[in-house]
Subunit: 82 residues, 2 copies
């Protein structure tokens, strides 16, 4: 059993209103140390597979086809053993 | 400069329709190895602070007050140096 951990984040330069809202809210709550905020999605997929190579290839294909919008998003894949 | 990496995920037992939809879609796309999918949010906060202790305390307070809905969500905090 392998786990593919996929992190999907906005590309540099793409405006992220959610992160902006969180930053403003934190500063308004009194957290004056906050310099910047970024938000990304972590998708963990458990795979019934023993080949790390195949798992990575599959995860890349999943990102290209479904998990990420590659026009505006980057993805990072990490394969771990359970 | 420190970075607080906050992972916010649904508690065990809370139904996650987004993860369910991703799982079904992946299986429909032909990824038959997929056993389960979970989705969480990763919030990275850059802090103008040099005290890891204070950064952790602040990040915990941010989670309790804003970042997580502690009725249905768990959070994990990691403090890293840039």
């Amino acid at each position: 059993m392998l786990t593919a951990k996929v992190n999907v984040s906005l590309k540099t330069g793409v405006v992220d209103p959610q992160a902006g809202a969180i930053k403003s809210a934190l500063i308004n709550l009194g957290f004056k140390d906050v310099q910047s905020v970024s938000v990304s999605k972590l998708i963990e997929i458990k795979l019934d597979s023993d080949s790390k190579g195949k798992a990575r290839k599959d995860a890349e294909e999943m990102c290209e086809k479904l998990l990420a919008n590659t026009v505006i998003e980057n993805y990072k894949i990490e394969i771990t053993e359970d």
